[in-house]
Symmetry: D2
């Protein structure tokens, strides 16, 4: 039987969340977010973030990201972001679509992290002019697409630069829980206290069925979000079933427990694969240079995962899910140790 390390979005739903869905299935309830579950969300998220926030549930991370960005930038706006971002590579142009044709301006940086230098240079290269698209938002991913995290100080430096030029800052938090656990920070420290204006708060990858939330720290920016969500067909009639997921996800720290388990197992793999690591392992993803032969060997042993990087690079991505069987991790550690031994002996 296959051992999946392809993506955390292939994982099942946490039992607590399935139970919450069933529990919400009681008779009639007002539609479109006017139900008893949805009406609790603002308060519940405000507790988590230690300040008043406004929360809008949606079904997909792509919806959260692109609707949030469409609220931040005009159609002629530029969204500055890392070239490895999900909004760049995996959303088939949803940000362009939702915004009416805004542009993603790409930056580079190790570990898929935007640096202040890259941001400053990009801002300098995009001056205000009627002939060019106008930088209006910075979008950062936490944890990043390469399994690294931004520290609060790193975020603050970037947000300060962005705000000085009038840009709003969006955080793609599809793996926000993994970042919070990985950093040992409070949710507030890596969001509004560091300058983040809007967060895509992910839950689906970390145990929900289909539940994400857009969290506004700056209520003035909400403006027309609700119209945009409806118009993009993301206002669910039976919203209670998404909101119930989010409430269960936050209840008694479930979200951090699930992410913590995945992160811990990822650390165990990181230790086994140390010489092969391409990036620090700070959340629940590992990127390894195993060589094409190494990748083939792992697949032959029943492990499923994605190749990464250019064809022939011998790079692979391994994602640990909240429900990853311990035995899969143990088996993978053993397999990686074998590869590592080889690698060490080959690389003096």
């Amino acid at each position: 039987m296959a051992r999946y390390f392809k993506s955390d979005n292939t994982a099942p739903v946490a039992p607590e969340i399935i139970a919450a869905i069933s529990a919400a299935n009681t008779g009639f309830a007002r539609g479109y977010g006017d139900d008893d579950w949805s009406l609790q969300l603002d308060d519940r998220f405000s507790e988590i973030f230690e300040r008043r926030v406004k929360v809008f549930p949606v079904s997909t991370g792509t919806a959260a990201n692109s609707l949030a960005l469409a609220t931040l930038v005009p159609p002629y706006g530029a969204i500055l972001t890392h070239e490895e971002g999900h909004i760049v590579r995996d959303e088939c142009g949803a940000p362009e679509f939702m915004s009416g044709g805004a542009r993603l301006v790409l930056m580079q940086g190790a570990g898929a992290k935007v640096t202040p230098e890259a941001l400053a240079a990009t801002l300098a290269a995009n001056p205000t002019s009627v002939h060019t698209m106008q930088p209006r938002a910075l979008s950062l991913t936490q944890a990043t697409e390469l399994g690294t995290v931004y520290s609060p100080a790193e975020l603050q430096a970037l947000c300060t630069l962005a705000h000085a030029r009038g840009l709003a800052v969006h955080m793609d938090g599809a793996r926000f829980a993994n970042a919070v656990v990985g950093l040992g920070c409070s949710p507030a420290e890596i969001t509004w206290r560091a300058g983040i204006d809007i967060l895509s708060f992910g839950a689906t990858k970390n145990g929900a069925l289909t539940a994400e939330a857009v969290v506004f720290f700056d209520c003035e920016r909400i403006a027309d979000f609700e119209f945009r969500r409806k118009r993009a067909a993301h206002l669910l009639s039976k919203m209670r079933f998404v909101s119930a997921q989010l409430l269960a996800y936050l209840n008694q720290g479930l979200w951090l427990r699930l992410a913590g388990r995945a992160n811990t197992l990822a650390q165990r793999l990181a230790a086994a694969a140390a010489p092969l690591l391409m990036h620090p392992v700070q959340a629940n993803e590992l990127f390894l240079r195993v060589g094409d032969a190494g990748a083939a060997a792992l697949r032959a042993s029943g492990f499923e995962f994605y190749d990464w990087g250019a064809s022939g690079s011998g790079e692979v991505r391994l994602v640990v899910s909240w429900n990853q069987p311990e035995e899969d991790v143990d088996a993978l550690c053993a397999a990686l140790a074998k590869l590592t031994a080889g690698a060490s002996s080959r690389c003096p």
Copy 2:
């Protein structure tokens, strides 16, 4: 305690469908529709429709409608439809958004039904010219927003007219099950056999949690649907949980059983309210002229429903859900009988 007749989207989820979601929650599964549940959909729907069809699940009826229409018309296209349609009144411009700015051209007709005369006149008034938007699709609602249905012959007449001018025909089937039951037809008879090219197949209002499907009868029209769905953030990673709902919905006729119950109860109400009826009751909705005092009296008795029509018209809408308690219906029949008695005595 309130007795809800506001909308079938305030109803809970059928137990069979909740059970199917739980049953699908087993270990890892490929994402984005490549799972074992989703891969059954084409076959299953092909059985239901007695021909090969291609099916794409989405989360909302608005997504189904607007993505289907965006596949049919260019940005400069016109979508001909009845002025009472959901796409006109209740989707905040989703069709315009998804299509890149197409236009809804509105028609009138009793019972929210488009007539061949209205369609012919509208086509004649919109000739081909570079200065005007080009009619490219006809969108019909089955059952309509006023609780009536199109017969197979009526559909055929409209589709023939539309096809002759090169328009594709879309059916908004948010209450498709209620229409099938109400007409006593096969699904095929009121879709592709009558000339429908694409169907928004609704399940949410009739007992699903959040599951709709776009059904293509003409596979050449699919073209770019999948890219559009992804780009609009409606391709779910954990798609299995939507597909499992649809499979359960179709299993052993559940969908027709649920709709049948609602329709039958609606007929009971129709009998009680006969003199007040504004439109024939052919599905699960009633539109009554009860007067403002009548509406107030019903509300005072604990019934919840929407006013309809212009302010002061004294018109109301009552929707019967799949799970409507019999006692609510009995109580409403009694209340309506009282109103009717009054009405009869007042109107010689």
Copy 3:
């Protein structure tokens, strides 16, 4: 040789304007509106309108209308307008395109004029709700598409209603000069003094080569107009040649002289055609019910014009241009007199 009454946009360019283009053709000049001609526009238009205004030249009336409207409404906005409007019938969806998918909500009214009653009813039928498109602009045409004009008082009543609900008011002034002359009003009286926020100021139909201007009375609304104009490819590099046209058009009352001539000739025709008139002749257009035979007779005599209304209605449109030869008008008067005589004798 044919006698054209098809449209004022088939007319040539006034000699003063051709001369101004040649005069502007002197050596290098800064591009994109930073030239000596363009820099005079704000002052010149401010004199004409008796208050500070901000002016942006564009090449087409459709560009002026649709860019102005896109500045006023969000993508989920509704633009309320008369069903006979140019933005509805003759721009192939430019307002929808420029705005990112806003909707035109249509009103009726005699002589192509919106009435306060129609506006109030339409506003009442479009309440604020996340499910529906939001009325954000009213667009009025002056002179209208049926050759009538709004009086200052009529405009004021409509603007007051619109502003009370938060809508901005746009005026499509493709034939603004004809309206000013027809009403004997100052430009200010039928624009900002009556409550108009933005004007599409037309010149092309009335003697320019290709020159229109968007005039902002409310500078806060300018917001992002310049970016939108550039992005829609309507910021000309050699802008001086458009601005020079506008300056010549306004110089020494040329614009009113040209429009005055057309209006006067139209009045002569109106007198000859009195019994056939469908609408008051208040600018430079006549709409006549001549019958199919009458239309054929006119065409046989060498007159060119458009049929109007439904096929078989026997209605025609005649437009008088700034350069219309007197002899064409005389000949048409004679031909119309014949038809009228017939009409009178036929209709006791």
Copy 4:
């Protein structure tokens, strides 16, 4: 008095073209391209290109580029192009806007030229997947934004690669005449014979008032161009005045004479500035590394031009226009010779 080398779009209009505009100003003419001038365009361009082509005039190069690209790619399409392109840097997102949110995917290459290697690598990095934007067009600039040209063989190699993957190829020919002259090729050789599908044929920079044309070599691709042009407000009513410009521009080789003069003068400057040249001078633009002091010295002598590259790079752009006074060129040669002498002495 200043000596302008800022841009060829600051130049005046060639006398032959002004004369043609005046000559076209004779009485009535049908609107929207149905006039005698516009109806000659297809034939005239077909002669120039030695095959049947279909031509659509527009007012700006940005309109030509973005409308052409919108015809080639779906909203989820990717347009591959050099990062220095006008469509990337100077059109405020017009391609994104006209296409409904397509994406520009950027490539690098010396002299602003796309290389087959860069194109192949970019295609490999953008595989077909529902999660990513789909490469559908390649856009090349001829002459490039850095004053270089593609040879027929270079174009052929790129077109072959693009077509093999199903991409259409667009050429931005804002300075097409300068390229034709610079290469000594026929128009056919560097367009359809090399594989170009659509050309933005520029005239404004090279002596027209405001006239560009979209030339389709592959008529099947025209599809919906006319609707898109109208909808973007680029279908002019008095089209004859644009078409007359284009006819005059092509008449008796005027276009090549004007471009030839500019190119020849540019060569004279190139000789004087040889050691400072950053790119080969193959059309009418020079890019020089003069240092900040050198730039200041040139400006002090009355020359006007743009800095280029990053702030502090000491790089400048000089553009020679069709009407550039010889004395300006002589004076600039002298000034450059001084700088060059200094440069040589400073750089052993």
